[in-house]
């Protein structure tokens, strides 16, 4: 069996192991190890087990991941997401559908200081759902808005998935962060427009809420200035080149902790919960990263990505056809698997194809992450949908019906991002130029 055939076989075995409920990181690592041993030899493969885990973990570049997760955990424990919701709620609450729009906007703002999104969806589910029930919002609109809004976090910097993408493709994390900014904002805008269209067509979905006075609006905004400061320091620091992403993450986590302490929102108990939550997520990510590194060594000696790239670029079709096929694979995986796992699983295989076809690597990173994000709300395993269903106690069917308009919005935005690469590449171009 030649190495490339072994590579294809390995992919089949990997999928079988993953569907047997083996932990994804271990499945990737095990297949990588056995494959490498088959092609190169058992001793060199054992050598990989010796060096790869240590070099993967003991890395200054990788330390950016737990630090950004910690920042989000602190912000979450300090109740910043609830404060954001209350502030935006005061601003938009009187509009038709305003409470749902406020949910989306609050998610987008919280994403600006947090690297992951599930926690956001969970908190806002607890805060926003009772409000929307009080004003007789239709449950499917309410739950749909929370589930969709909760998925925004992945693209708006800081984003843990973009960091991982940057590390495995050797692209600049700073550029990726800036590239994700406009598409992230655009996503929020698309969701808000979706809500606007829905309530215009059927006003009964969302009766108008209370109008806040000017004073109330100002007061509520006073509570969220910390979020603005943190975002400006972290992302501004990376943009101007004052901080490396790791430094920005350290400062961000420390700054968030200080704000939480000053507001007296950080107890010893909450501090411990923030730490153990961060440790849990870090452990989950790094097991997959370790597996992906081992699998990557095997893929490169199997020459499979290279062969695939040659094959794809030789096909007599437009390169966008191949791009769409790749994105469909990612989307299908997104329906059953965590975003991070998909990026680590597919990028080593597809990335050489994308380069060979002449697509921009930063732009592709944004598109791929945007597609995995859509997977968070698509059936059968839309993670956000399950979380929201669990918190609100609405029926699964109601939530899935609620997210359908947002899935359509997702598709429209992805098409737009593909057609206009400048939406992703404009900001990083400014930084470099």
């Amino acid at each position: 069996m030649d190495p490339t055939t072994a590579g294809y076989l390995a992919i089949i075995v990997l999928i079988a192991l993953i569907f047997s409920r083996m932990q994804i990181g271990i499945a990737m690592g095990l297949v990588g190890f056995v494959g490498f041993a088959y092609i190169v030899g058992v001793d060199p493969a054992l050598g990989l087990l010796k060096t790869v885990p240590y070099t993967t973990f003991a890395s200054k570049d990788m330390s950016v991941i737990p630090l950004f997760i910690l920042m989000g955990s602190f912000a979450f424990s300090a109740g910043m997401s609830e404060d954001l919701y209350r502030a935006v709620h005061k601003l938009l609450g009187h509009l038709r559908g305003g409470l749902a729009m406020a949910t989306v906007l609050a998610c987008a703002c919280f994403a600006a200081i947090s690297g992951s999104s599930l926690a956001t969806a969970a908190t806002l589910g607890r805060v926003a759902m009772p409000e929307m029930r009080k004003y007789k919002y239709h449950p499917s609109l309410a739950t749909g808005a929370i589930a969709a809004g909760g998925s925004i976090g992945i693209l708006i910097p800081p984003s843990v998935i973009l960091i991982i993408y940057g590390i495995i493709t050797e692209q600049s994390i700073g550029e990726l962060f800036l590239a994700g900014f406009i598409p992230g904002i655009l996503e929020a805008a698309f969701y808000i427009a979706t809500i606007g269209i829905l309530v215009r067509r059927n006003p009964a979905l969302a009766p108008p809420g209370p109008r806040a006075t000017g004073k109330e609006k100002l007061l509520s905004l006073g509570k969220v200035w910390e979020v603005v400061v943190l975002f400006l320091v972290v992302i501004g620091g990376i943009y101007t080149g004052i901080f490396t992403p790791t430094e920005a993450a350290g400062i961000g986590a420390f700054g968030t902790l200080c704000f939480a302490l000053i507001r007296r929102k950080m107890t010893w108990e909450k501090f411990k919960v923030s730490l153990s939550g961060t440790i849990n997520t870090t452990g989950m990510l790094f097991l997959i990263v370790m597996g992906a590194m081992l699998l990557g060594y095997f893929f490169s000696v199997s020459r499979l990505p290279f062969e695939l790239a040659t094959l794809a670029s030789g096909l007599p079709v437009n390169r966008y056809v191949i791009l769409v096929l790749i994105l469909l694979v990612v989307l299908l995986l997104g329906c059953i698997m965590d975003s991070m796992a998909i990026v680590l699983l597919t990028i080593p295989v597809f990335y050489p194809v994308i380069l060979k076809l002449g697509f921009d690597p930063i732009w592709f990173g944004i598109i791929v992450v945007r597609v995995t994000e859509m997977g968070l709300i698509t059936p059968p395993v839309g993670l956000n949908v399950y979380i929201i269903q669990g918190i609100t106690g609405e029926r699964m069917g109601t939530v899935f019906r609620g997210v359908i308009p947002f899935i359509i919005a997702d598709i429209c935005e992805i098409i737009l991002l593909i057609l206009i690469p400048q939406l992703s590449l404009f900001l990083p171009g400014l930084m470099m130029g």
Partner: protein, 158 residues
């Protein structure tokens, strides 16, 4: 009894990981402040962060396993009868343990090699071998946690 021993080991590892994580955040923040404000960066901050990561990450993998937080796909397997699920679960757990044991064993060897080669960090000249031990310990204990879960399969946490 073995359950209790492994539980207390994971508690200790969690405490170490939490302490190191806090220290890593403080080190990064203080280093930046020292560099840009006082213009005196902490010497060796880079390699200290690397060593801290070596301590922190393997133990976080253990904690995540204990909390059943590692990612797996149960969509397909759940459609099979109970005995098939158990059988497949046993098989994948055994493979996982075997693989973890291999990694732990190789890293034990690696500790010896880096000790013999007198490998150190470049600025502060701290020996590297004690920081390979956490990988061996962490992945080894991770395998034990998987073993433990074979005997008491509690429902997965979301």
């Amino acid at each position: 009894m073995p359950t209790k021993i492994i539980r207390s080991i994971t508690r200790v590892l969690l405490a170490i990981a939490a302490t190191v994580l806090t220290a890593m955040m403080l080190l990064t923040a203080v280093d930046v402040v020292m560099r840009y404000i006082v213009n005196r960066p902490i010497s060796g901050a880079f390699e200290l962060t690397e060593y801290m990561m070596a301590l922190f990450v393997p133990f976080s993998i253990v904690y995540c396993a204990e909390q059943k937080g590692h990612v797996s796909v149960e969509l397909l397997i759940k459609r099979f009868p109970e005995f098939v699920q158990r059988g497949v679960g046993l098989l994948t757990s055994l493979l996982t343990m075997l693989f973890a044991a291999l990694i732990a064993w190789q890293n034990l060897l690696y500790i010896g090699e880096t000790y013999a080669d007198k490998l150190t960090s470049s600025v502060l000249l701290i020996p590297a071998f004690p920081f390979i031990a956490p990988v061996a310990i962490g992945i080894g204990v991770y395998g034990l946690v998987i073993l433990l879960h074979i005997f008491n399969p509690t429902p997965e946490k979301g």
